[in-house]
C-alpha cells in the first residue's frame, strides 16, 4: 500500500505541483513508529569549525510522543524533545549536567529542532505555521523543502531539506547560503531507515 502511495507520488511529481493533501499524507506517513530505535548520524559545519563535526547515536519516539536522541559518539549525551522543549543531559567533568530550554521559533536553530520534532510526529500544523513547503520526488525518493516564512529567520536559515525514501525519513538538513551562493553553515541528521537492534 505504501509502495503504491510512493509510486503515486512519483507519478504526480511530474505534474506541475503537489496538492496540500499530498504533502499532508506524506508528512503523516513520516510519523516515527513509537518505541522503535533507529540509528542516526548528525554532521555539521559552521564557521567556528575547521572540519565537519560528527555525532552518532540512537533515536526513538516514545509513547508519550517525545523524541529522544541518545548520542553515543564521540561523547554521551541525551536530548529529549517534547512539546517544544529540549532537555539535555550530559556528563562533564565527572558530573551530570542538565539544561532545559523552551524552544523559541524566532531562533533559527530552535526552529530546526522544532521542525525535527514536528516531522517525526507528522505535525503539519506546526510546519505550516513557520514554513512554506514544496515537494520534489524521483523514483522511490522524495524531498520536501521548507523555507522559513519569517524574513529574519531566513537570514540565518535559508532552508530546511527533509528527504526520504518510500515511507521513511532519511535526512533532515538545514542550510545557510551566503549572498554569493556559497554554503556558510549546514547541519544534517541522517537516519538509518532500518530499525536498530
Amino acid at each position: 500500500m505504501c509502495r503504491l502511495f510512493v509510486a503515486t507520488l512519483f507519478i504526480l511529481s511530474g505534474s506541475p505541483g503537489w496538492s496540500d493533501t499530498d504533502v499532508d499524507t506524506l508528512l503523516s506517513n513520516l510519523q516515527f513508529p513509537m518505541e522503535v530505535d533507529v540509528n542516526f548520524q548528525q554532521t555539521q559545519l559552521s564557521p567556528l569549525l575547521k572540519r565537519v563535526n560528527q555525532q552518532r547515536g540512537r533515536l526513538r519516539r516514545l509513547n508519550d510522543n517525545s523524541l529522544v536522541m541518545w548520542i553515543d559518539h564521540p561523547r554521551r549525551e541525551e536530548r529529549r524533545l517534547a512539546n517544544g522543549l529540549v532537555t539535555v543531559r550530559r556528563q562533564h567533568a565527572g558530573k551530570e549536567r542538565f539544561r532545559q530550554m523552551q524552544l523559541d521559533p524566532q531562533r533559527p536553530s530552535h526552529l530546526v529542532l522544532l521542525a525535527l520534532e514536528a516531522v517525526t510526529q507528522g505535525n503539519r500544523r506546526m510546519l505550516d505555521r513557520h514554513f512554506d513547503m514544496s515537494v520534489q520526488a524521483r523514483a522511490d525518493s522524495w524531498q520536501i523543502t521548507f523555507v522559513p516564512r519569517a524574513q529574519q529567520i531566513r537570514q540565518q536559515l535559508t532552508h530546511l531539506l527533509v528527504s526520504g525514501q518510500g515511507e521513511r525519513l532519511t535526512h533532515l538538513r538545514s542550510e545557510r547560503i551566503r549572498a554569493d551562493g556559497t554554503l556558510s553553515h549546514w547541519l544534517q541528521v541522517s537516519i538509518d531507515p532500518v530499525p536498530a537492534d
Binding site: 539544561r99 523552551q102 531562533r107
Partner: protein
Amino acid sequence: MLTLPRLNLSYDLAAFLPAPTTPAETLLTERLGQGPGAQLLFIQLHGQTAAGAARIADKLRNIDGVARVWPNPKLLSVEHLPAPVWQHRLLLQDLPHSQADWLDLLNSRLDDLSMLSDDDALTLVAADPGLFSVTTLEQFTANRQLTFNQGQSHYLIVETQVPGYDIGGQRDIVRALTLALEDVSANLLGSPAYGVALQEAVKFEATVFSTLAGVLLASILILRFRKSYPVIAIILPLITGGLAGLLALSLFFDRVHGITLAFGFTLLGVAIDYPLHLFLSVNEKGKGFHVWPTLRLGIISTLIAYGAFAFSGTQGIAQLGIFGFCGLITAAVTAWWLCPQPTTQPATPASRYQQLKLWPGLLVMATGLVALALLKPFNDNLAELTPIPKQTLQADTRIRQTLGISNIRYLIGIWCTDRQACIRRTTTVLDNLQPLMDQGVLGGAQGISQILPSRAQQELRRRELQNPQALATFHNALAQSPFAPSAFAPFVHHWQVTAASSEYLTYRALLEAGNLDTINSLLYPSADGWVSLIYLMGIEDMPTLQQHLAEDRNAQLVDLKATSERMVSQYRLQVFKILGLALTAIAGILIATLSLKRGTWLLITLGAAVTTGATISTLLHGGLSLFDLMALTLVAGLGLDYALFYSGISNAQHNRQTATAVNLCALSSAVVFGTLSWSTIPVLAGIGSTVFFGVITAYLLARFTRRIMV
C-alpha cells in the same frame, strides 16, 4: 487634619519586633521581606506549549516593575548579559589548568553548537568558550527545570523590581500580570501575590465587617434613642479620637504601620461606652446620677494600659499605644463636651445596697488559668501576624521545592568588618558546602563570591592570565579540537586585554548594572560592618547541614522562623512585664480610690474575662498572637467599665439606670466584635472572638455576681 496626608503607611512586620540583641536577630529585622525569594512570582501555565509559554514570558517582560522573567533563552546572547559580568568574565571563575581540561571544555561547546548555532550563540561562544559569564549568572537565575510532565506543565518565574514588603508596588505588578494572563489558564503564586491577595482580602473583609458592625451599632442606637443628636454625639467621640490618634502618629513617626491603624481603631472601641453612659444616665427631665467619677476611673485605668504600650520596645506596638492613648483622651473630652452631665449624687453608699461575690469570678478565672496552662496558649509564629492562610504557605513551600527556589526559612549569615573579608569568608563557606552538595544533603547555595570574587581571588586569576604558559595551554587544546584556529580570536583578545588591565569587578559596578538587583540581598552594609548572606536550596538533610555549619566558625546558620519566634516570645514576656506594671498601678489606684473588696472584685472580674477570652480564642484558633494580647487589653478596658458601674450601684433606680447603660454598652461591643469573629482572616476572627467572649464574660460576671441586700 492637615497633617494627615503626610502619613506614610508601612507594612514592614519588622516594626513589631523588639530591638535585636544577636546578629541573627539583627539579620531578621534588617532583611525581613527583602530576600530574593520575596520578589519572586511563580506562574503555573496550563495547556501551553513551550512556544506559547515563551510568548507569554516575552509579554510579561514588558510590564513595568518586572525585572526579569525566566526561562530566558536570550540569556545566551551577549547583549543580554550585564556589562560588568561580561567585561570581567575571565576573573569570575578559575580557568582550566590543563590541556585536557581545556579540550573537555571546548568539546562541551562543540556539543552545544551541534544544537545551537545561531549567530548570537556563535558570537558568545567565540568570546567566552568557557561560558564563564553565563554559568556565573545561571547560579542566580533559573538554571533549573521549569517544565514538567513532558512539556505539558510550564512554570514562569517573574522577579519584580520592588522589595517584598512594598505591598503597594507589588500590588501594581500583580494586577498588571493578572491582566496580561487573563486569556490563558494560569495560577499566580509567590509571596508578592499572597501579600496582595491578603491585603485585598483584609481590606474587603474589614470594609464588609466594619460596615455591617457600623450598621448594626447605628440600628441599636437609633432604636434606643430615636433621635439623631444622641446617635451623632455617641459616634463623634470615636471619630475625633481616631483623628487625634492619627495626628499624634504623624507628629511622632515618619511612617505608620497599617496594622497600627487597624488595631488602633479597635482599641478605641472602648470609647463608645463613655457617651452611652452619659446619655443613659439621665431621664427625660435631664436628671441622673453622676457618672463622671466612675468613668474617669475607667478612663485613667485604660490610659495607663495603653500608655504602657508606648514603652513596649517595638515601634509598631508603641505606635498602637500612642494612638490609643491620644485617641482615648480626645474621645473622652469630646464625650464630656457633647453629652449631658448628670450631677445627682447617690444618697447611700453602694456597699449598703449590694454585696459583691468574689467566688464566681475566682472560679471562672481559675478554670481559665488551668485551661491555658494545659493548652499551648501562645503562638509566636510571626507568619501568623501577616496572616497568610496555612494552605497557601504549604502550597508555596511545595512550589519552591519543585522549582528549586532558595529556602525562605534558613540562610547562612556571615558578619565582617569589611566587604572584602566578607567576600573571602563567603568563598570559604561555599567551598566547605560543596561536599554536602555532592552528597545530596544540599541542592545548591547562592553567595556573593559566586558573582563577585574577592579582590585577592581576582588578582590571582589575573596573574594566571598573565602567565604565557596558560594561553599556550589553551592554544594547544584548540589545535587538537575540531574548532578553527581563529574560532576564539575574540576570546584570546579579551584574555590579553584582561591580563594587561588593572580593573577589577566591583560591588558598585554590579549594583550600578541595574539588572542585578539580587546583589544587595547577598552582601550589604550594616551598622557594624558588612553582612554576607548565603541562600540555600533543596535542603534534604537539615541535621547534617546544622552539624556541618556548627563546625564552621566563619558562618552561622540562621533559622529565620525560630529567630522570629524567639524574639516574639521574649517580646511577649516584655509586654507581660509592662502590662503587669500597668495592672499593678491600676490595682493600686482602684483599691486606693475604692474599697479593698470592691477593688479586688473588679480585678477578679477583669481577670476572669481576660482568661475566658484567651482560653476560648486559644481553643478556636490554636493560640494567641501578639494582637490577641492587644485584644485582651481591650477586654480588660471594657470589662473594667462594666464592673466599675455595676459595683457602684447604690439604689434600685441607680441599678435600673446603670443596667440600661451597661446592657447597651455590652450589646454594642458584642455585636461589633461578634460580627468580626466571622471573618475568614484568622487574625481578624481571633480578635473578634477574643473580645466577644471576654466582653460576654465580663458583663455576666459584673451583672450577676452581686447580691442585692435591700
